[in-house]
Symmetry: C2
Subunit: 545 residues, 2 copies
């Protein structure tokens, strides 16, 4: 046998075994922290405070109680809840028995929920009382009903009980010393989250133990998140498994402060009272805080670190947040990549630049998270990266270990998403000479007017530059002559006196003629549950004009 075919000495008798190879899973992080820091506060919810000993015992109770009900490997357990302890516990208790957690978007209507419960083949539904009306309507649409467990959060006193058991009673059935099972393989499925489905049916994004473990750790590395940090749940935990922060904070042996509703007073109070050091949220949460009444604002003497995704915060909002003691990090990602995996990593040489320029730099999506292996802006046909010229548009693509397993029961969509060995984000952008990427648009958000491509983001940025503009969104409006023209939806600040003519004049000053919105509509903007502007709603409005 030729030497290069004989097994190398480095492959003989050096196999994986239980001592040197164990599955990567968020579950070990909880086991480890509960063992090492049993008395640390893991969860705060109103007046409730649970140590890691408590949290671990409750998760084990949940897993064992579900197992006793016949739930196990490959079964779906859905949950409809805001950011409560039960929601957090489900992220550990459910996978402890090999089941898969499906976090439902709490803003969905009954029909969408029924579609998901059917598609996911949900066997157990944990549901917070607040959502009983919509859940009841959804259950009425189902042929096969799951086991329903009501979550009776003490913070809520209304809403019918729909199920046969209450969540705390279920935990009481369980064993706090339950000998849960590690996944046999780190590739096993951990959770299932549905995309918002702006076009067609929502798609079920499946996460693995390995991937969630990795992005959980990645958050620590990318954010320099210290051990013992205190995290406030302003980001919905149903959204990309809360960007994997349920795992991040347990790895860091930190404290998670629950929050049912994103309200300025509750956020400021939580920061001041619980010494919150970190939180995440859509730019709308930043706006909420900056524009909160003075009576609600609280001062604190520590820096609060906040990550924000989706569109870039305008400079005025960044300045307002900084003045209040927040340090803003801009990140970017998608459900399919476990939340953000791209960060506008700040360089100290930018500190001294004027605010406007800092805001412009921070508006870029940036570079890979520490553990993100592949990121490129490329031509989706040739798979060639675009030149790093800040000009040439391409599609943003990712590869590595922080990409979903695929879409549940949707082989063709999965194959399409992974064409060429990269995940196709559907977002369009450029690569700047310094390697930072910047989104220019969603593929479908490009406006094509007279054969010219117009980036709706570019037009929006100009609109945000007008001091009277609170929010703005630009979509294509069908046009007989030009094919499409930009149509701007604008929300003015409450005290503003600006007129359409003022805004139009401002745009003329900053935009090429063909990019000027032909139509201006002054209105509130429709948003998704995660704070993203629902452009498809605006597109319909523009079509109907």
């Amino acid at each position: 046998m030729p030497a290069d075919i004989a097994p190398s000495k480095y492959e003989r008798d050096l196999d994986r075994n239980p001592a040197n190879h164990q599955p990567l899973t968020p579950l070990s992080l909880l086991e480890r922290t509960a063992d090492v820091h049993p008395d640390r506060v893991a969860v705060i919810h109103g007046d409730q405070r649970w140590t890691y000993r408590d949290l671990y015992a409750r998760c084990r109770r949940l897993g064992s109680a579900l197992k006793a009900r016949g739930i196990g490997r490959g079964d779906t357990v859905s949950i409809m809840a805001p950011n409560t302890p039960a929601m957090l516990e489900a992220h550990y208790g459910v996978p402890m028995i090999g089941a898969v957690l499906n976090e439902l978007n709490i803003r969905l209507d009954a029909e969408a929920l029924a579609f998901i419960l059917t598609h996911a083949e949900t066997r157990v539904l944990l549901t917070d009382r607040e959502f009983s009306p919509v859940i009841k309507a959804a259950l009425d649409l189902l042929d096969t009903k799951p086991l329903v467990i009501d979550i009776d959060d003490p913070a809520i006193t209304h809403g019918d009980f729909l199920g046969e058991t209450e969540y705390e009673a279920l935990l009481a059935e369980g064993d706090p010393d339950f000998a849960w099972q590690m996944p046999a393989d780190e590739w096993e499925s951990l959770s299932l989250g549905y995309t918002s489905g702006t076009t067609g049916d929502p798609k079920g994004v499946v996460y693995s133990h390995r991937g969630a473990w990795m992005n959980g750790i990645n958050n620590i590395l990318t954010w320099d998140l210290p051990k013992g940090a205190v995290y406030l749940w302003t980001l919905p935990m149903f959204h990309c498994s809360g960007w994997c922060f349920p795992y991040t904070m347990v790895a860091a042996a930190g404290t998670q402060v629950c929050l049912r509703k994103v309200e300025a007073k509750a956020i400021f109070d939580a920061i001041a009272t619980n010494h919150v050091t970190h939180l995440c949220g859509a730019p709308t949460v930043l706006s909420l805080l900056v524009h909160a009444p003075d009576a609600v604002k609280r001062s604190f003497d520590h820096t609060v670190h906040m990550m924000t995704a989706a569109s870039a915060p305008p400079s005025s909002v960044i300045a307002g947040m900084e003045a209040m003691g927040f340090e803003i990090t801009h990140v970017y990602g998608l459900t399919e990549v476990y939340g953000p995996v791209v960060v506008c990593e700040w360089k100290s040489e930018w500190d001294e630049k004027p605010l406007e320029e800092r805001a412009r730099i921070k508006a870029r999506q940036g570079v890979r998270y520490t553990l993100q292996q592949g990121l490129m802006v490329a031509d989706p046909e040739t798979m060639e990266p675009v030149p790093a010229d800040g000009q040439t548009m391409g599609e943003v693509m990712m590869r590595g270990n922080i990409t979903m397993k695929g879409y549940l029961k949707n082989r063709s969509a999965t194959e399409k998403a992974f064409a060429g060995g990269w995940f196709h984000s559907g977002d369009l952008g450029v690569t700047h000479p310094d390697g930072y990427i910047e989104l220019k648009d969603r593929s479908k958000d490009i406006i094509i007017s007279g054969g010219e491509n117009i980036s709706s983001i570019e037009v929006e940025e100009v609109l945000y530059g007008h001091p009277a503009v609170l929010e703005a969104a630009v979509v294509a409006r069908p046009d007989e002559k030009w094919g499409e023209t930009p149509c701007a939806f604008v929300t003015l600040k409450p005290d503003s006196t600006a007129t359409e003519a003022d805004i139009r004049a401002h745009c003329e000053k900053h935009l090429a003629r063909f990019k000027l919105p032909k139509t201006f509509i002054f209105t509130d903007l429709p948003k998704t549950s995660t704070g993203k502007v629902q452009k498809f709603v605006l597109r319909e409005k523009a079509r109907a004009l």
Copy 2:
């Protein structure tokens, strides 16, 4: 087919593919940091300063030049070098072509080196000029000679050239844009380090890409090591691949300051000049710094974080280091687990305790690193963990992903080390009620006197408690009546006037009668290249008394 045997919906069409599954390897960390932070200083060596762009290009040159010489997958490349840039580059350049890096202990003699070069089947030897005499002698003992490359570090001007090419000339042959290959599987072998072999031949410990990647990340998490940290190479890089810090610092996009020799002046100068924030070393390095002449000590206005392993530093040393601005973290590990994986994680409630008590707490080995999955003190026969009573002795065992693949070409030793699915460390210890473990001894360091077990560590701690004692080591001395008795080797501080009677009286005050050393010998202690006391030398001395 029964439902529980049909493939679950969570296993259908959700396979690994290049977009969602890539090998975990330190190589991606370098690729990412060089891409994101090309202009950051990666390496400082005297007056030399290399950015990440430079470092990455040099590693790629090294890999491609070796490949052009016919080196590839499964080949061993050995290196004999102190903590220089070439040593660091080899940690990346060699695995870029699937070859395995074997770091040689620079304190070994020619015979031991020849044994390793033969056992490892070394095909290329990179060797620093300083070590030409011993390497020449080792090469003379070999039947088959490897390709020899001399490293002509500008900091050294003596030593013969032994090989056909110099390291920089080799790099000049290479391609800075070399398209290196990812390992096909993260379990592939990355590096090979030999144990010190106090008994019998040294054993070759094989690391995987996955394991080194993981402990590299683990260092960041456990130490809260921030991005951009500056690390000083006081720990030998040949020791457990420098505890994986060559990978840690690249993941953190930090700066690595090289250091050929561990000397107090050079260390203080590097800290003050390069703003070093982190370093590691044996307790002897702490002693070196604390006892350095005042003329050599430098003051600095930042906290320097230092990890120390092996035996616990005495309280006077901890106090001295703290007074100079160092924060000491006590860790524990072995070559077989990629360096330290156990840390005496500090709790803020201990801050206010008196120094002596803090030193006693810090002397414990502690708890698992963040990513260390399994750690227990257990009976090696029954594999049952000992009770957490701080009294019952057992063997320290580890499992998880930070355990070696095994010993190279030594199936029986590998199987023995992994008996029962755990790695057997050979260290004996206890578990305290708070879950922190504390080493009591190496199995072979227990002294059995009149049927009673005596922990040599316990006796040593008492000796260190005497203000005149600089260093102490206790071993068994054969005794006709008792079987064995403790024999103490003691180094007094230079200015001390203590007598043997003083030391003996101190021991009598703090030790049970049967634990008292019967023999005291005042002398310097023999040490290994990594600063560990060579107890086997002392044991021979005690036997010969």
